[in-house]
Protein backbone atom coordinates (compact mmCIF):
# COMPACT_ATOMS: atom_id res chain seq x y z
CA UNK A 1 0.00 0.00 0.00
CA UNK A 2 1.27 3.50 -0.83
CA UNK A 3 0.31 6.48 1.32
CA UNK A 4 0.55 10.14 0.31
CA UNK A 5 0.59 12.97 2.85
CA UNK A 6 -0.14 16.49 1.64
CA UNK A 7 1.99 19.01 3.52
CA UNK A 8 1.44 22.71 4.06
CA UNK A 9 4.39 24.91 4.95
CA UNK A 10 3.10 27.32 7.63
CA UNK A 11 4.47 29.84 10.14
CA UNK A 12 5.25 28.31 13.53
CA UNK A 13 2.09 28.46 15.66
CA UNK A 14 3.66 30.90 18.13
CA UNK A 15 4.48 33.44 15.36
CA UNK A 16 3.39 37.00 15.99
CA UNK A 17 1.24 37.70 12.94
CA UNK A 18 2.03 40.97 11.11
CA UNK A 19 1.39 42.32 7.62
CA UNK A 20 3.20 44.66 5.23
CA UNK A 21 2.40 46.58 2.04
CA UNK A 22 -0.69 48.27 3.43
CA UNK A 23 -1.94 45.03 5.00
CA UNK A 24 -1.91 43.08 1.75
CA UNK A 25 1.08 40.80 2.43
CA UNK A 26 2.02 38.56 5.33
CA UNK A 27 5.25 39.81 6.93
CA UNK A 28 7.70 36.92 6.75
CA UNK A 29 10.45 38.72 8.67
CA UNK A 30 11.90 36.40 11.29
CA UNK A 31 9.22 33.75 10.74
CA UNK A 32 10.05 30.10 11.47
CA UNK A 33 8.35 27.79 8.96
CA UNK A 34 7.10 24.39 10.03
CA UNK A 35 5.02 21.46 8.79
CA UNK A 36 1.37 22.30 9.39
CA UNK A 37 0.59 20.64 12.78
CA UNK A 38 -2.24 18.43 11.46
CA UNK A 39 -0.17 17.30 8.48
CA UNK A 40 2.60 16.39 10.90
CA UNK A 41 0.16 14.23 12.88
CA UNK A 42 -1.02 12.63 9.61
CA UNK A 43 2.58 11.81 8.69
CA UNK A 44 3.18 10.36 12.16
CA UNK A 45 0.18 8.05 11.82
CA UNK A 46 1.25 6.94 8.32
CA UNK A 47 4.70 6.03 9.67
CA UNK A 48 3.13 4.11 12.56
CA UNK A 49 1.08 2.12 10.04
CA UNK A 50 4.21 1.47 7.96
CA UNK A 51 5.92 -0.01 11.02
CA UNK A 52 2.93 -2.26 11.68
CA UNK A 53 3.69 -5.32 9.52
CA UNK A 54 0.00 -6.24 9.37
CA UNK A 55 -0.87 -2.93 7.73
CA UNK A 56 1.27 -3.70 4.67
CA UNK A 57 2.37 -0.14 3.92
CA UNK A 58 5.34 -0.13 1.56
CA UNK A 59 5.91 3.57 1.08
CA UNK A 60 5.01 6.94 2.58
CA UNK A 61 5.38 9.92 0.24
CA UNK A 62 4.92 13.60 1.07
CA UNK A 63 3.91 16.33 -1.36
CA UNK A 64 4.02 20.11 -1.05
CA UNK A 65 3.09 22.90 -3.43
CA UNK A 66 5.65 25.63 -2.93
CA UNK A 67 8.76 27.36 -4.18
CA UNK A 68 12.28 26.21 -3.29
CA UNK A 69 12.04 27.94 0.10
CA UNK A 70 9.71 25.18 1.37
CA UNK A 71 12.40 22.51 0.97
CA UNK A 72 13.61 22.69 4.60
CA UNK A 73 10.05 21.79 5.67
CA UNK A 74 9.93 18.93 3.14
CA UNK A 75 13.35 17.68 4.30
CA UNK A 76 12.04 17.74 7.86
CA UNK A 77 9.24 15.37 6.81
CA UNK A 78 11.83 13.10 5.22
CA UNK A 79 13.92 13.28 8.40
CA UNK A 80 10.89 12.26 10.45
CA UNK A 81 10.62 9.18 8.25
CA UNK A 82 8.82 9.75 4.92
CA UNK A 83 10.42 7.71 2.13
CA UNK A 84 10.34 10.28 -0.64
CA UNK A 85 8.90 13.67 -1.51
CA UNK A 86 7.37 15.65 -4.35
CA UNK A 87 7.45 19.44 -4.60
CA UNK A 88 5.27 21.15 -7.17
CA UNK A 89 7.21 24.27 -8.03
CA UNK A 90 4.65 27.04 -7.62
CA UNK A 91 3.59 29.73 -5.20
CA UNK A 92 0.35 28.42 -3.65
CA UNK A 93 -2.38 30.87 -4.67
CA UNK A 94 -5.53 29.39 -3.16
CA UNK A 95 -6.93 26.02 -2.12
CA UNK A 96 -8.29 25.29 -5.61
CA UNK A 97 -4.90 26.07 -7.15
CA UNK A 98 -3.07 23.82 -4.66
CA UNK A 99 -5.52 20.93 -5.03
CA UNK A 100 -5.29 21.20 -8.83
CA UNK A 101 -1.48 21.03 -8.70
CA UNK A 102 -1.50 18.00 -6.41
CA UNK A 103 -4.15 16.25 -8.52
CA UNK A 104 -2.05 16.75 -11.62
CA UNK A 105 1.19 15.64 -9.95
CA UNK A 106 -0.13 12.37 -8.54
CA UNK A 107 -2.94 11.32 -10.87
CA UNK A 108 -1.04 8.36 -12.34
CA UNK A 109 0.89 7.34 -9.25
CA UNK A 110 -1.61 4.91 -7.73
CA UNK A 111 -1.64 6.06 -4.13
CA UNK A 112 -3.95 3.90 -2.03
CA UNK A 113 -4.51 6.41 0.76
CA UNK A 114 -4.14 10.18 0.50
CA UNK A 115 -4.17 12.06 3.80
CA UNK A 116 -4.69 15.77 4.43
CA UNK A 117 -4.72 17.57 7.75
CA UNK A 118 -8.06 19.17 8.62
CA UNK A 119 -6.84 22.71 7.95
CA UNK A 120 -3.67 24.73 7.51
CA UNK A 121 -2.93 27.02 10.41
CA UNK A 122 -2.53 30.02 8.08
CA UNK A 123 -5.67 30.26 5.93
CA UNK A 124 -7.86 27.88 7.94
CA UNK A 125 -9.71 26.79 4.83
CA UNK A 126 -10.21 23.02 5.39
CA UNK A 127 -10.48 22.83 1.64
CA UNK A 128 -7.60 21.15 -0.20
CA UNK A 129 -8.45 17.58 0.88
CA UNK A 130 -12.08 17.66 -0.21
CA UNK A 131 -11.25 19.47 -3.44
CA UNK A 132 -8.51 16.97 -4.29
CA UNK A 133 -10.85 14.02 -3.68
CA UNK A 134 -13.46 15.51 -6.00
CA UNK A 135 -10.86 16.23 -8.69
CA UNK A 136 -9.58 12.63 -8.51
CA UNK A 137 -13.13 11.21 -8.23
CA UNK A 138 -12.14 9.43 -5.00
CA UNK A 139 -14.29 8.63 -1.99
CA UNK A 140 -13.33 10.78 0.98
CA UNK A 141 -13.85 10.64 4.71
CA UNK A 142 -13.51 13.81 6.74
CA UNK A 143 -13.11 14.47 10.48
CA UNK A 144 -11.05 11.29 10.85
CA UNK A 145 -9.71 10.82 14.39
CA UNK A 146 -8.31 7.27 14.07
CA UNK A 147 -7.17 5.00 11.26
CA UNK A 148 -6.22 1.34 11.62
CA UNK A 149 -5.77 -1.68 9.42
CA UNK A 150 -7.67 -4.73 10.70
CA UNK A 151 -7.27 -7.99 8.77
CA UNK A 152 -6.38 -6.05 5.66
CA UNK A 153 -9.38 -3.70 5.93
CA UNK A 154 -9.11 0.02 6.72
CA UNK A 155 -11.11 0.99 9.79
CA UNK A 156 -11.69 4.67 10.51
CA UNK A 157 -13.18 6.67 13.36
CA UNK A 158 -15.10 9.66 12.08
CA UNK A 159 -16.04 12.41 14.53
CA UNK A 160 -19.63 13.54 14.27
CA UNK A 161 -21.22 16.27 16.36
CA UNK A 162 -21.60 14.75 19.79
CA UNK A 163 -20.04 11.38 19.03
CA UNK A 164 -18.26 9.23 16.51
CA UNK A 165 -18.85 6.61 13.85
CA UNK A 166 -16.63 3.64 13.15
CA UNK A 167 -16.54 2.83 9.47
CA UNK A 168 -14.67 0.66 7.00
CA UNK A 169 -13.63 1.70 3.54
CA UNK A 170 -11.74 0.15 0.64
CA UNK A 171 -8.74 1.79 -0.96
CA UNK A 172 -8.17 4.04 -2.79
CA UNK A 173 -9.62 6.88 -0.76
CA UNK A 174 -8.75 10.24 0.75
CA UNK A 175 -8.88 10.97 4.48
CA UNK A 176 -9.01 14.40 6.10
CA UNK A 177 -7.62 13.85 9.58
CA UNK A 178 -7.81 15.80 12.81
CA UNK A 179 -7.24 15.58 16.55
CA UNK A 180 -6.67 12.02 17.72
CA UNK A 181 -5.14 10.57 14.54
CA UNK A 182 -1.78 10.40 16.35
CA UNK A 183 -0.97 11.42 19.90
CA UNK A 184 2.26 13.38 19.53
CA UNK A 185 4.03 14.38 16.33
CA UNK A 186 7.18 12.40 15.75
CA UNK A 187 10.47 14.26 16.09
CA UNK A 188 13.36 13.74 13.68
CA UNK A 189 16.38 11.95 15.16
CA UNK A 190 19.95 12.74 14.10
CA UNK A 191 20.10 9.56 12.00
CA UNK A 192 16.88 10.57 10.23
CA UNK A 193 18.24 14.05 9.53
CA UNK A 194 21.38 12.54 7.96
CA UNK A 195 19.35 10.09 5.87
CA UNK A 196 16.89 12.76 4.73
CA UNK A 197 19.59 14.43 2.63
CA UNK A 198 19.84 11.34 0.44
CA UNK A 199 16.12 10.63 0.06
CA UNK A 200 14.57 11.44 -3.33
CA UNK A 201 12.81 14.80 -3.70
CA UNK A 202 11.19 15.11 -7.11
CA UNK A 203 10.40 18.57 -8.42
CA UNK A 204 7.42 18.86 -10.76
CA UNK A 205 6.63 21.99 -12.74
CA UNK A 206 3.23 23.54 -12.12
CA UNK A 207 0.32 23.32 -14.52
CA UNK A 208 -1.46 26.48 -15.61
CA UNK A 209 -4.44 26.90 -13.29
CA UNK A 210 -6.22 30.11 -12.29
CA UNK A 211 -7.00 30.73 -8.63
CA UNK A 212 -10.70 31.21 -7.93
CA UNK A 213 -10.21 33.54 -4.98
CA UNK A 214 -7.99 36.54 -4.19
CA UNK A 215 -6.91 37.74 -0.76
CA UNK A 216 -7.23 41.50 -1.10
CA UNK A 217 -6.51 42.79 2.42
CA UNK A 218 -5.84 41.57 5.92
CA UNK A 219 -7.09 43.10 9.14
CA UNK A 220 -5.82 42.74 12.65
CA UNK A 221 -8.47 42.02 15.28
CA UNK A 222 -9.85 45.12 17.00
CA UNK A 223 -7.89 45.79 20.18
CA UNK A 224 -10.14 44.54 22.91
CA UNK A 225 -10.87 46.42 26.10
CA UNK A 226 -8.92 45.16 29.11
CA UNK A 227 -10.34 42.31 31.13
CA UNK A 228 -12.78 43.53 33.77
CA UNK A 229 -11.70 41.98 37.05
CA UNK A 230 -14.22 40.85 39.65
CA UNK A 231 -13.23 40.16 43.23
CA UNK A 232 -13.27 36.48 44.16
CA UNK A 233 -15.38 37.37 47.22
CA UNK A 234 -18.09 38.95 45.07
CA UNK A 235 -18.89 36.26 42.52
CA UNK A 236 -22.44 37.64 42.35
CA UNK A 237 -21.03 40.76 40.67
CA UNK A 238 -19.90 38.56 37.82
CA UNK A 239 -23.38 37.09 37.47
CA UNK A 240 -24.78 40.64 37.29
CA UNK A 241 -22.25 41.72 34.68
CA UNK A 242 -22.93 38.68 32.51
CA UNK A 243 -26.67 39.27 32.78
CA UNK A 244 -26.92 43.08 32.54
CA UNK A 245 -23.80 44.21 30.68
CA UNK A 246 -22.69 41.34 28.42
CA UNK A 247 -26.28 40.01 28.19
CA UNK A 248 -25.08 36.45 27.65
CA UNK A 249 -27.04 34.75 30.44
Amino acid sequence: MKILICLSNVPDTTTKIKFTDDNTKFDETGVQWVINPWDELALTRALELKEDAGANVEKVTVINVGLANTEPTIRKALAIGADDAIRVNAEPKDAFFVASQIANAIKDQGFDIIINGIESSDFNGSAVGGMLAEMLDLPSVSAVSAMKVENGAIVIDREIDGGKEVLSIETPFLAVVQKGIALEPRIAAMRGIMMARKKPLTIIEAVDVQAMTDFVAYEMPQPKPPCKMVDADNVKDLVNLLHNEAKVI
Binding site: S145, G162, G163, I169, D214, P221, P225, C227, V239
Partner: protein, 322 residues
Protein backbone atom coordinates in the same frame (compact mmCIF):
# COMPACT_ATOMS: atom_id res chain seq x y z
CA UNK B 1 -31.24 32.35 -9.33
CA UNK B 2 -31.29 31.40 -5.68
CA UNK B 3 -29.22 30.98 -2.54
CA UNK B 4 -29.12 27.33 -1.48
CA UNK B 5 -28.62 26.37 2.18
CA UNK B 6 -27.44 22.92 3.26
CA UNK B 7 -29.16 22.19 6.60
CA UNK B 8 -28.37 19.50 9.17
CA UNK B 9 -30.67 17.80 11.61
CA UNK B 10 -29.95 15.97 14.83
CA UNK B 11 -32.40 13.10 15.34
CA UNK B 12 -34.97 14.86 13.17
CA UNK B 13 -34.58 18.34 14.71
CA UNK B 14 -32.63 21.03 12.89
CA UNK B 15 -29.46 22.13 14.60
CA UNK B 16 -29.18 25.70 15.82
CA UNK B 17 -26.50 26.24 13.17
CA UNK B 18 -29.03 25.41 10.45
CA UNK B 19 -31.33 28.23 11.60
CA UNK B 20 -28.30 30.55 11.65
CA UNK B 21 -27.52 29.44 8.11
CA UNK B 22 -31.03 30.03 6.81
CA UNK B 23 -31.11 33.48 8.48
CA UNK B 24 -27.73 34.26 6.90
CA UNK B 25 -28.63 32.92 3.46
CA UNK B 26 -31.88 34.87 3.32
CA UNK B 27 -29.92 38.08 3.97
CA UNK B 28 -27.59 37.25 1.07
CA UNK B 29 -30.64 36.46 -1.04
CA UNK B 30 -31.95 39.95 -0.20
CA UNK B 31 -28.63 41.49 -1.26
CA UNK B 32 -28.86 39.59 -4.56
CA UNK B 33 -32.59 40.17 -4.93
CA UNK B 34 -33.31 36.46 -5.18
CA UNK B 35 -34.90 33.65 -3.15
CA UNK B 36 -33.66 31.26 -0.48
CA UNK B 37 -33.95 27.50 -0.85
CA UNK B 38 -33.07 25.11 1.99
CA UNK B 39 -32.02 21.51 1.37
CA UNK B 40 -32.76 18.93 4.06
CA UNK B 41 -31.41 15.39 3.89
CA UNK B 42 -32.87 12.94 6.39
CA UNK B 43 -36.02 12.03 8.19
CA UNK B 44 -37.54 15.35 9.26
CA UNK B 45 -41.25 15.97 9.83
CA UNK B 46 -43.12 18.51 7.72
CA UNK B 47 -43.70 20.67 10.82
CA UNK B 48 -39.98 20.82 11.53
CA UNK B 49 -39.20 21.52 7.86
CA UNK B 50 -41.65 24.43 8.00
CA UNK B 51 -39.58 25.94 10.83
CA UNK B 52 -36.96 26.82 8.22
CA UNK B 53 -39.60 29.05 6.57
CA UNK B 54 -39.83 31.12 9.77
CA UNK B 55 -36.21 32.15 9.33
CA UNK B 56 -36.29 33.04 5.68
CA UNK B 57 -36.55 29.90 3.53
CA UNK B 58 -38.86 30.48 0.55
CA UNK B 59 -38.72 26.84 -0.37
CA UNK B 60 -37.50 23.63 1.28
CA UNK B 61 -36.28 20.61 -0.64
CA UNK B 62 -36.56 17.43 1.41
CA UNK B 63 -34.62 14.27 0.61
CA UNK B 64 -35.65 11.28 2.73
CA UNK B 65 -33.90 8.44 0.88
CA UNK B 66 -32.58 6.02 3.51
CA UNK B 67 -29.33 5.54 1.66
CA UNK B 68 -28.40 8.97 3.02
CA UNK B 69 -28.73 7.96 6.67
CA UNK B 70 -24.98 8.24 7.01
CA UNK B 71 -22.75 10.86 5.48
CA UNK B 72 -21.21 9.61 2.23
CA UNK B 73 -19.28 12.55 0.83
CA UNK B 74 -19.52 11.74 -2.88
CA UNK B 75 -23.21 10.85 -2.75
CA UNK B 76 -24.10 13.96 -0.73
CA UNK B 77 -22.01 16.12 -3.07
CA UNK B 78 -23.98 14.81 -6.01
CA UNK B 79 -27.34 15.51 -4.32
CA UNK B 80 -26.34 19.05 -3.38
CA UNK B 81 -25.06 19.77 -6.90
CA UNK B 82 -28.32 18.45 -8.39
CA UNK B 83 -30.37 20.64 -6.04
CA UNK B 84 -28.18 23.65 -6.89
CA UNK B 85 -28.61 23.03 -10.62
CA UNK B 86 -32.38 22.61 -10.28
CA UNK B 87 -32.68 25.86 -8.32
CA UNK B 88 -30.02 27.71 -10.39
CA UNK B 89 -28.18 28.51 -7.16
CA UNK B 90 -25.52 31.20 -7.44
CA UNK B 91 -24.52 31.00 -3.77
CA UNK B 92 -24.40 27.83 -1.64
CA UNK B 93 -24.10 28.07 2.13
CA UNK B 94 -22.86 25.41 4.58
CA UNK B 95 -21.99 25.46 8.27
CA UNK B 96 -18.26 25.54 8.98
CA UNK B 97 -18.53 22.30 10.97
CA UNK B 98 -17.60 18.64 10.40
CA UNK B 99 -20.22 18.10 7.71
CA UNK B 100 -19.77 21.47 6.02
CA UNK B 101 -16.02 21.04 5.88
CA UNK B 102 -16.44 17.55 4.41
CA UNK B 103 -18.84 18.66 1.67
CA UNK B 104 -18.30 22.31 0.72
CA UNK B 105 -14.87 21.84 -0.94
CA UNK B 106 -16.14 18.86 -2.98
CA UNK B 107 -19.28 20.73 -4.02
CA UNK B 108 -17.19 23.77 -4.97
CA UNK B 109 -15.04 21.71 -7.34
CA UNK B 110 -18.05 19.92 -8.79
CA UNK B 111 -19.78 23.23 -9.51
CA UNK B 112 -16.66 25.07 -10.65
CA UNK B 113 -17.26 27.50 -7.80
CA UNK B 114 -14.84 29.44 -5.61
CA UNK B 115 -14.92 28.58 -1.92
CA UNK B 116 -15.05 31.07 0.94
CA UNK B 117 -14.37 28.91 3.99
CA UNK B 118 -15.10 30.09 7.52
CA UNK B 119 -16.83 33.40 6.75
CA UNK B 120 -17.91 35.29 9.88
CA UNK B 121 -20.27 37.94 8.50
CA UNK B 122 -22.30 38.91 5.45
CA UNK B 123 -20.34 39.55 2.24
CA UNK B 124 -18.91 43.09 2.27
CA UNK B 125 -20.05 43.49 -1.31
CA UNK B 126 -21.63 41.27 -3.92
CA UNK B 127 -19.87 42.95 -6.89
CA UNK B 128 -17.10 41.93 -6.55
CA UNK B 129 -18.19 39.20 -4.14
CA UNK B 130 -16.01 39.96 -1.11
CA UNK B 131 -16.09 37.85 2.04
CA UNK B 132 -14.53 38.33 5.47
CA UNK B 133 -12.92 35.38 7.25
CA UNK B 134 -10.65 34.40 10.09
CA UNK B 135 -7.04 33.61 9.15
CA UNK B 136 -3.95 32.61 11.14
CA UNK B 137 -6.17 30.77 13.62
CA UNK B 138 -7.95 33.94 14.71
CA UNK B 139 -4.87 36.18 14.93
CA UNK B 140 -6.06 38.12 11.89
CA UNK B 141 -8.86 38.42 9.34
CA UNK B 142 -8.77 38.37 5.58
CA UNK B 143 -10.96 40.00 2.93
CA UNK B 144 -11.26 37.63 0.01
CA UNK B 145 -12.79 38.15 -3.42
CA UNK B 146 -14.46 35.10 -4.95
CA UNK B 147 -14.11 35.48 -8.71
CA UNK B 148 -16.36 32.69 -10.00
CA UNK B 149 -20.02 32.96 -11.01
CA UNK B 150 -21.10 30.42 -8.39
CA UNK B 151 -19.85 30.84 -4.82
CA UNK B 152 -19.70 28.32 -1.98
CA UNK B 153 -19.49 29.64 1.59
CA UNK B 154 -19.07 27.98 4.96
CA UNK B 155 -20.30 30.10 7.89
CA UNK B 156 -18.57 30.06 11.27
CA UNK B 157 -20.94 28.91 13.96
CA UNK B 158 -22.48 31.45 16.31
CA UNK B 159 -21.31 34.27 14.05
CA UNK B 160 -24.73 35.24 12.70
CA UNK B 161 -27.84 35.90 14.78
CA UNK B 162 -30.90 33.80 14.11
CA UNK B 163 -33.64 36.16 12.89
CA UNK B 164 -37.36 35.75 12.50
CA UNK B 165 -38.17 36.29 8.84
CA UNK B 166 -41.38 34.48 7.94
CA UNK B 167 -41.38 33.25 4.36
CA UNK B 168 -43.51 30.83 2.42
CA UNK B 169 -41.40 27.79 3.32
CA UNK B 170 -43.11 25.52 0.80
CA UNK B 171 -41.95 21.94 1.30
CA UNK B 172 -41.11 19.99 -1.82
CA UNK B 173 -40.00 16.36 -1.95
CA UNK B 174 -36.77 16.04 -3.86
CA UNK B 175 -35.72 12.69 -5.34
CA UNK B 176 -32.25 13.13 -6.81
CA UNK B 177 -30.53 10.63 -9.05
CA UNK B 178 -28.40 8.35 -6.92
CA UNK B 179 -25.25 6.60 -8.08
CA UNK B 180 -24.71 3.38 -6.12
CA UNK B 181 -20.97 3.55 -6.87
CA UNK B 182 -20.76 6.56 -4.57
CA UNK B 183 -21.41 4.44 -1.48
CA UNK B 184 -17.96 3.23 -0.47
CA UNK B 185 -18.02 3.39 3.31
CA UNK B 186 -19.73 0.98 5.68
CA UNK B 187 -20.68 2.28 9.09
CA UNK B 188 -19.98 -0.46 11.62
CA UNK B 189 -20.70 1.31 14.87
CA UNK B 190 -22.06 4.63 16.11
CA UNK B 191 -21.42 6.17 19.50
CA UNK B 192 -23.60 9.23 19.80
CA UNK B 193 -24.48 11.22 22.86
CA UNK B 194 -28.13 11.70 23.55
CA UNK B 195 -29.87 14.46 25.45
CA UNK B 196 -26.75 16.55 26.07
CA UNK B 197 -25.88 19.77 24.33
CA UNK B 198 -23.47 19.35 21.43
CA UNK B 199 -20.22 21.20 22.11
CA UNK B 200 -19.79 22.65 18.62
CA UNK B 201 -23.44 23.77 18.47
CA UNK B 202 -23.56 25.22 22.02
CA UNK B 203 -24.20 28.88 22.85
CA UNK B 204 -22.57 28.57 26.27
CA UNK B 205 -19.55 26.40 27.10
CA UNK B 206 -18.03 25.72 30.52
CA UNK B 207 -14.46 24.51 30.22
CA UNK B 208 -11.94 23.23 32.75
CA UNK B 209 -8.15 23.13 32.74
CA UNK B 210 -5.36 21.75 34.85
CA UNK B 211 -6.38 24.16 37.64
CA UNK B 212 -9.35 21.87 38.32
CA UNK B 213 -6.74 19.56 39.85
CA UNK B 214 -8.30 16.22 38.89
CA UNK B 215 -11.15 14.33 37.23
CA UNK B 216 -12.91 13.99 40.60
CA UNK B 217 -13.56 17.76 40.67
CA UNK B 218 -15.51 17.90 37.40
CA UNK B 219 -18.84 17.87 39.21
CA UNK B 220 -18.45 21.64 39.67
CA UNK B 221 -18.04 22.17 35.90
CA UNK B 222 -20.99 19.91 35.12
CA UNK B 223 -23.21 21.62 37.66
CA UNK B 224 -22.49 25.06 36.24
CA UNK B 225 -23.07 23.73 32.72
CA UNK B 226 -26.40 22.33 33.83
CA UNK B 227 -27.74 25.58 35.31
CA UNK B 228 -26.61 27.49 32.23
CA UNK B 229 -27.80 24.92 29.69
CA UNK B 230 -24.20 24.76 28.51
CA UNK B 231 -21.90 22.15 26.99
CA UNK B 232 -18.70 21.12 28.78
CA UNK B 233 -15.18 21.29 27.38
CA UNK B 234 -11.58 21.08 28.54
CA UNK B 235 -8.02 22.11 27.73
CA UNK B 236 -5.50 19.81 26.10
CA UNK B 237 -3.57 18.77 29.28
CA UNK B 238 -6.88 17.64 30.77
CA UNK B 239 -7.73 15.34 27.86
CA UNK B 240 -4.12 14.15 27.63
CA UNK B 241 -4.23 13.23 31.34
CA UNK B 242 -7.43 11.31 30.68
CA UNK B 243 -9.47 13.41 33.15
CA UNK B 244 -11.91 14.10 30.31
CA UNK B 245 -12.55 12.46 26.92
CA UNK B 246 -10.63 13.79 23.89
CA UNK B 247 -13.83 14.92 22.20
CA UNK B 248 -14.11 17.68 24.83
CA UNK B 249 -10.70 19.15 24.05
CA UNK B 250 -11.01 22.66 22.62
CA UNK B 251 -8.01 24.36 21.09
CA UNK B 252 -6.05 24.61 17.89
CA UNK B 253 -5.66 20.84 17.56
CA UNK B 254 -8.97 20.03 19.24
CA UNK B 255 -12.45 21.39 18.62
CA UNK B 256 -12.66 24.95 17.40
CA UNK B 257 -15.71 26.64 18.85
CA UNK B 258 -17.28 30.09 18.86
CA UNK B 259 -19.91 30.25 21.60
CA UNK B 260 -21.55 33.41 22.96
CA UNK B 261 -20.14 32.70 26.42
CA UNK B 262 -17.05 30.65 27.28
CA UNK B 263 -16.17 30.14 30.93
CA UNK B 264 -12.55 29.00 31.35
CA UNK B 265 -11.98 27.56 34.82
CA UNK B 266 -8.38 26.84 35.79
CA UNK B 267 -7.15 27.31 32.20
CA UNK B 268 -3.95 29.34 31.87
CA UNK B 269 -4.63 30.25 28.22
CA UNK B 270 -1.82 28.83 26.08
CA UNK B 271 -1.83 30.30 22.57
CA UNK B 272 -3.00 26.96 21.15
CA UNK B 273 -6.00 26.92 23.47
CA UNK B 274 -6.93 30.50 22.63
CA UNK B 275 -6.76 29.65 18.90
CA UNK B 276 -9.62 27.21 19.45
CA UNK B 277 -11.91 29.68 21.25
CA UNK B 278 -10.94 33.01 19.68
CA UNK B 279 -14.37 33.33 18.08
CA UNK B 280 -16.04 33.49 21.52
CA UNK B 281 -18.16 36.60 22.08
CA UNK B 282 -17.71 36.81 25.85
CA UNK B 283 -14.89 35.02 27.64
CA UNK B 284 -14.80 34.62 31.43
CA UNK B 285 -11.57 33.45 33.07
CA UNK B 286 -11.16 32.05 36.56
CA UNK B 287 -7.55 31.39 37.53
CA UNK B 288 -5.39 31.54 40.66
CA UNK B 289 -2.51 33.18 38.73
CA UNK B 290 -3.21 36.86 38.12
CA UNK B 291 -0.54 36.87 35.37
CA UNK B 292 -2.04 33.94 33.43
CA UNK B 293 -2.28 34.79 29.68
CA UNK B 294 -5.99 33.91 29.70
CA UNK B 295 -6.69 37.30 31.36
CA UNK B 296 -5.24 39.07 28.31
CA UNK B 297 -8.00 37.70 26.11
CA UNK B 298 -10.80 37.48 28.69
CA UNK B 299 -13.64 39.97 28.97
CA UNK B 300 -14.26 39.23 32.65
CA UNK B 301 -11.87 37.67 35.11
CA UNK B 302 -11.69 36.42 38.67
CA UNK B 303 -8.35 35.72 40.32
CA UNK B 304 -9.20 32.79 42.53
CA UNK B 305 -9.48 29.05 42.92
CA UNK B 306 -11.98 27.67 40.40
CA UNK B 307 -12.98 24.97 42.86
CA UNK B 308 -14.22 27.68 45.25
CA UNK B 309 -15.56 30.13 42.64
CA UNK B 310 -17.61 27.69 40.53
CA UNK B 311 -20.06 26.66 43.29
CA UNK B 312 -20.66 30.34 44.11
CA UNK B 313 -21.27 31.04 40.45
CA UNK B 314 -23.80 28.19 40.38
CA UNK B 315 -25.57 29.66 43.41
CA UNK B 316 -25.58 33.16 41.89
CA UNK B 317 -27.02 31.98 38.58
CA UNK B 318 -29.69 29.87 40.32
CA UNK B 319 -30.70 32.97 42.25
CA UNK B 320 -30.82 35.03 39.04
CA UNK B 321 -32.98 32.46 37.30
CA UNK B 322 -35.43 32.06 40.19
Amino acid sequence: MSVLVFTENWDGKFKKSSFELVSYASKIAEMLNTSTVALSIGNVTEDELKNLGKHGADKILSVTDERFNYLENQAYTSVIAQAAAKESASVLVFANNNMGKALAPRVAVKMNAGLGAGVDQLPKSTEPFTIHKKVYSGNAFGNVIIKTDVKVLTLMQNSFMIVENQKDGAVETFAPEVNEAHFKTKVKDVAKQTGQIILTDAEIVVSGGRGMKGAENWGAIEELAEVLGAATACSRPVSDEGWRPHNEHTGQTGKIIAPNLYIAAGISGAIQHIAGVSGTKCLVAINTDKDAPIFEVADYGIVGDALKVLPELVAGIKELKS
